[in-house]
């Protein structure tokens, strides 16, 4: 298990990461979601023991890692960067890099490379060089290169950012196969909630370098009925004590996401096209550390978070306990 405790990390004085505790447990399949600049890449670099935090500790299996992590510890955690870089040489040479660094003999290395190449379907690329590969192929080679060394923890920074959806599926299936074959914890950063919910067992949201409770809270695991309550694509599903109208063809178990910025906030129900009009009371308000947004949490039968401008929050005189109405269109609800 690799974990961060009391970590505050700064670049040139600017606080970029502020985490009391963050852990990737043995065998976990964890997604870290957040917008660009939320601190995801920095978090992964700290977890990969490539940088030491300005304050706080990084622990590997409960033992504090020295500020300059020795190779023996670094070898247990491997990071694939958002835009990975391949070294000079062929794909085969690249995939074997970490094995050579570990002094693995040629015969064993070739067998290990062969296994991973087969799993990721990289056979035809083996003799190619980096300038002969597409971005998606570079990404797959980088993942293969990282998996070849059989780390305990694999960290992936936006693993499908440069790949098409089909190869993204192939990549996640390959990871699943790897995890089925041996104990491997995977932690990937993504700005796409869809990927996070489709492939991860657990999700952490990062905003402005802190763990944010906002994103996961507007997410609901539900069972979508076949047929539907209204038209062909409009469905009404029960979430906690309320019903939410959703536009979707999907059926069965899904995750619904209500983007906090798509929620219209008012003091009273207003006539509008929104199919979801939920009245309740404000339970919490948080001002964004950067930007002018205010996160308004309200109990409307379930806990929902909406983002409004500071000006709007003031005009509506929003405060904890005040009555509030959240409205959003059925088409605003995302289905994963």
């Amino acid at each position: 298990m690799v974990e961060l405790r009391g970590v505050r990390h700064r670049y040139e004085g600017r606080l970029v990461l502020d985490l009391e505790h963050f852990a990737v447990r043995d065998g976990a399949l964890l997604a870290v979601v957040g917008h660009n600049g939320a601190g995801k890449s920095t978090l992964l670099r700290l977890l990969a023991l490539l940088e030491a935090p300005t304050e706080g500790r990084v622990l590997l299996d409960g033992v504090t890692v020295p500020r300059r992590a020795p190779a023996a510890l670094r070898r247990r955690v491997t990071l694939v960067e958002q835009r990975p870089i391949l070294f000079r040489g062929t794909v085969h040479h690249n995939i074997g890099y970490g094995l050579r660094a570990r002094g693995v003999g040629h015969a064993v290395a070739d067998r290990m490379i062969g296994e991973i190449v087969e799993r990721l379907g990289l056979g035809p690329l083996l003799s190619r060089r980096r300038h002969e590969l597409s971005d998606g192929e570079v990404q797959r080679v980088a993942v293969a290169r990282a998996l070849a060394v059989r780390p305990d923890v694999l960290l992936l920074d936006e693993p499908v950012s440069s790949a098409d959806r089909a190869s993204a599926g192939a990549l996640y299936r390959a990871l699943a196969a790897e995890r089925a074959a041996r104990p491997l914890a995977v932690c990937f950063a993504s700005h796409q909630l869809e990927d996070a919910y489709r492939w991860a067992d657990d999700i952490r949201a990062l905003a402005d370098g802190r763990l944010s409770p906002v994103t996961p809270e507007n997410l609901f695991r539900v069972e979508l009925p076949t047929g539907g309550g209204g038209s062909d694509t409009m469905k009404r599903v029960r979430v906690g004590g309320i019903e939410i109208a959703v536009m979707t063809d999907r059926t069965g178990p899904v995750v619904l996401a209500v983007p906090p910025t798509d929620i219209f906030v008012s003091r009273e129900p207003l006539p509008s096209s929104a199919r979801n009009v939920l009245a309740g009371r404000v339970t919490g308000m948080a001002i964004e550390r950067r930007g002018a947004g205010v996160h308004v949490t309200a109990d409307v039968g379930v806990e929902l978070v909406a983002v409004v401008t500071a000006e709007a929050a003031r005009d509506l005189a929003l405060a904890p306990g005040s009555p509030v109405v959240f409205s959003f269109k059925a088409s605003a609800v995302q289905v994963f």
């Binding site: 491997t78 990071l79 890099y97």
Partner: protein
């Protein structure tokens, strides 16, 4: 014009005839240049890598010192070294003044800042992901350094060329600590200066042409190496 043409004719004759003095001076120059370049780059390239990749207190000051040393006048280096190596100097006991070893030391002092400063710049120019990737794949410090250096190979080859160029073309230190002694410490540059002042333009020109040829061969050889290493 006749004077120039006559100079070239004599230079050519000396070169073709395999004049012992010309080739003796050329060989000494080559020996001094190779030893000094190897030592300067052997120390300077790792130093440049260290300055480029490690964060430590005083790093900025160290980089400033190295960059300032790039512009160190050769005669000043020669003068300081003379003070150290002369009989009354702290290193006088070595008896190295007016030997080829003294010229090597002077040349190393002049080429070292070039090797360190330019290689630091070259290494800083390598994508930071290369080093991180090597480290996350489990490479130790040496393998990581080698991997980063491979990515900067063109720039580092240029650094070696520049260091060699400095050493082979330098005259101030070689003159002061070498003494320009015939058959012992006379290098191409000191000889050219001497023979020109003595009016032997042809001999000076012949030596100058050898110097040019030497620089050309080194550059062509390094370019050939670079061409082989692409991809």
């Amino acid at each position: 014009m006749d004077f120039l043409a006559e100079g070239f004719r004599r230079a050519w004759a000396l070169l073709v005839a395999g004049d012992a003095e010309v080739y003796g001076i050329a060989l000494l120059t080559l020996k001094v240049a190779i030893v000094a370049t190897v030592v300067a780059c052997g120390v300077g390239l790792p130093l440049g890598y260290f300055l480029a990749t490690r964060r430590f207190w005083g790093r900025r000051a160290a980089l400033t010192v190295v960059n300032t040393a790039l512009a160190f006048p050769t005669v000043v280096v020669g003068l300081l070294l003379y003070g150290l190596l002369s009989r009354r100097g702290p290193l006088g006991g070595l008896g190295w003044l007016y030997t080829w070893q003294a010229i090597v030391i002077g040349d190393v002092l002049l080429a070292l800042p070039i090797a360190a400063a330019l290689s630091a710049a070259a290494i800083q120019g390598v994508d930071a992901r290369v080093r991180r990737t090597a480290e996350t794949l489990g490479a130790g410090p040496w393998r990581t350094a080698w991997t980063v250096a491979r990515e900067a190979r063109f720039a580092l080859a240029a650094v070696i060329t520049a260091a060699f160029g400095q050493v082979v073309a330098e005259i101030g230190a070689a003159m002061i600590v070498g003494g320009n002694i015939r058959g012992s410490t006379r290098t191409l540059t000191t000889a050219v200066a001497l023979y020109t002042s003595q009016g032997d333009f042809g001999l000076a020109l012949a030596l100058g042409l050898v110097l040019l040829a030497m620089a050309l061969v080194v550059n062509v050889a390094l370019q050939a190496l670079q061409g082989r290493g692409s991809g």
